[in-house]
Amino acid sequence: MGITEKIAGEKITLAHGSGGIQMHNLIRSLFQKRFRNEWLDQMSDSAVIGNPAGDGDALCFTTDSYVVAPLFFPGGDIGKLAVCGTVNDLAVEGATPLFLSCGFIVEEGCEILVLEKVADSMADAARTAGVKIVTGDFKVVEKGKADAIFINTSGIGRRSRSRGFGREHIRAGDKVLINGFIGEHGAAVMAARGNFDLQSDIKSDCAPLNGIISDMLAVSEGIRFMRDPTRGGIATTLNEIAEGANFGITLDEAALPLRDDVKAACEILGFDPLYLANEGKVITIVSAEDSACVLEAMRSHTLGRESRIIGEVTASHAGRVVLKTLLGAHRIIDMLSGEQLPRIC
């Protein structure tokens, strides 16, 4: 079979959308190749574009679509997620989020009351994050052509040019920080799907991160890089940071903040919390000298009480992420491949 025939027959599977390696490859080979330009080629959560007003600050621009099922889950809903997700994509670029757009695709038959609840929640989240929703679009499709409500939001933010951090500033010896427990969003949504008969109090960590990030940036010039580890979890995000770089990353299993209930759910269902989605977490890479003061700033914020240093940037194993296990052994952590699937026995 020739290569073209294989591609001609190949179809999109859920794995292409789960934030792992298949999606990564598809975006690079199908979209980036065709859209290529200097801003897209930054390939970060937001594009940093010049400011037409020319006052020295840069504009950041990002977009994201939200298709979560169920629409409502402990700790949040699709509306809160649609605001926080886009706010966070701007915030991790060091930008102050200013304006959002929102586009709705709604399935025929969706109750207006449900839509109202979602809109209320978006308004709340926008108020908390200090952003304005300034434009939007609304489409209805026939029953069965969508699942209740899909939302797209785009966002614009402003960042002062002097901040200038990026992956190229990461050095061996830098510390890897996170602002609290991992895997809560992924575990909460799975439990809320109800097909596991799992009784749990796990809540999604869905929250706007611009507040805590601005506190962190205020205390340190040594912050090199930030990413919000959403789909694919911290394992996939750290792999994206290390990919093709001249440094590696070592994670310390003993330092990973993990709630007992999330841990228990993962044990029962056969999931690895390193690959579960987060919606209110930021992975930050900081110079070793500044790690203590950044950690303190994080812990002073309500979204960062459980902040920890979870790993270190290394000169060894360049391009790879390695976990130091509880027993002191080392093993590789790869990107998520496919969806995480339940185990057999």
């Binding site: 269902l269 027993l327 002191g328 052994a329 080392h330 057999i344 026995c345």
Partner: protein, 365 residues
């Protein structure tokens, strides 16, 4: 976390590791121990145990991943049934990505087949009751751990008169495969780390022939790092003390010598032993389970016609030898090159308990 952290205690683990190193040091030759069960393989890789055990001890992965040993013709049949318009396939998630001769259930779902992932066969029965106009086929794959619940579900389907629920039975049992392994002249072993969950059902007696007739120590171990290390240490102690091989139970919090008679009785009521083909090991006498005739109306193999087509095994894949413990994943020319979790050639690369998947995901440690 209670009942979990105790079994991952680093200080205790290093004390056992020291003892293991000492025991290995007393022997001139290398010790080779097979972990039969795929859950052991994954747990060993996840904790990085191989790299801690030193060079005098080799852990070989055995044929204990049910998905991996399921031959292609079973998958091809499941896929052929999935393509039928009124069929809903219900399966454990592990089966989704396993490549058959020309497709996988995952690809079929992309093409529009109805395939539901479940955690229990009882959930599949529920799906049948909710969709009376469809045929719901549960893929019964697994060892003695999953077979009893499938047997119980079949008994319930009959009692409740559910007529649209079927099981495509690919169940296998472990002891006959171990018999085949100890008679494999290529394989040189010093002991078996026996599976914990399977033994919770069958107990320790079915392994006794290995100790008695072949002089190989067997230890039934749990799945946490400390369980596994203690299991290895118990095997080594049997070798060193030269007091004659026996079957010991490390995993005593879950396994009794007589197993679980109630679960075993359910299996006996519904299933009967048949010769069965294991990927890599070939046909092993009385190593599979078939649905008894009195439950024949719920047996997908008898009731549902399917155009299976020609079954092909993937060229160049050495899954078979890896499942027998005579080769390692790195010995395979396809490993990490053409065979990856995204584009698997053999089942061992995609099953969550597959040896190749463990080595790929966690490195060679």
């Amino acid at each position: 976390m209670k009942y979990l952290d105790e079994y991952r205690d680093p200080a205790l683990a290093h004390r056992i590791l020291d003892k293991i190193a000492e025991a290995c040091g007393e022997r001139s030759e290398l010790a080779a121990i097979m972990e039969v069960c795929g859950t052991h393989t994954m747990s060993i890789a996840r904790a990085g145990l191989r790299s801690l055990l030193g060079e005098n001890l080799r852990l070989l992965s055995g044929p204990g991943c049910p998905v991996c040993v399921t031959p292609n013709d079973y998958l091809d049949r499941a896929i052929a049934i999935a393509r039928q318009r009124d069929a809903i396939i219900a399966t454990f998630g592990d089966m989704m990505k396993v490549p058959g001769s020309s497709s996988s259930l995952y690809q079929e779902r992309g093409n529009g087949a109805r395939i539901e992932m479940v955690y229990s066969p009882l959930d599949a029965l529920k799906i049948a009751e909710q969709n009376p106009l469809n045929k719901v086929i549960f893929l019964g794959v697994g060892f003695e751990t999953t077979a009893p619940t499938v047997a119980a579900t079949l008994a319930k389907a009959r009692a409740d008169g559910v007529k649209n629920f079927f099981v495509l039975c690919g169940h296998k049992i472990v002891p006959p495969a171990l018999f085949a392994l100890v008679n494999d002249p290529e394989l040189k072993l010093d002991g078996f780390l026996c599976p914990g969950h399977v033994s919770a059902i069958i107990g320790s007696r079915p392994y006794e022939f290995i100790a008695r007739d072949y002089g190989l120590p067997c230890v039934i171990a749990g799945f946490e790092p400390l369980d596994i290390l203690q299991g290895i240490w118990m095997i080594l102690r049997q070798i060193i003390e030269k007091r004659g091989a026996s079957v010991e139970i490390q995993y005593s919090r879950a396994v009794a010598a007589e197993g679980n008679p109630k679960a075993a009785a359910f299996m006996e009521k519904v299933f009967e032993p048949v010769d069965s083909i294991w990927r890599g090991l070939g046909k092993i006498p009385a190593s599979g389970l078939a649905i008894k005739e009195e439950f024949g109306d719920w047996d997908a193999a008898r009731v549902i016609q399917a155009d299976v087509g020609e079954t092909r095994e993937p060229a160049g894949c050495i899954c078979g030898m890896i499942l027998r413990g005579v080769r390692l994943p790195m010995d395979c020319p396809l490993f990490r090159k053409t065979c990856t979790p995204e584009n698997p050639v053999g089942a061992c690369m995609v099953s969550s308990e597959g040896t190749c998947a463990a080595y790929y995901k966690y490195g060679n440690g």
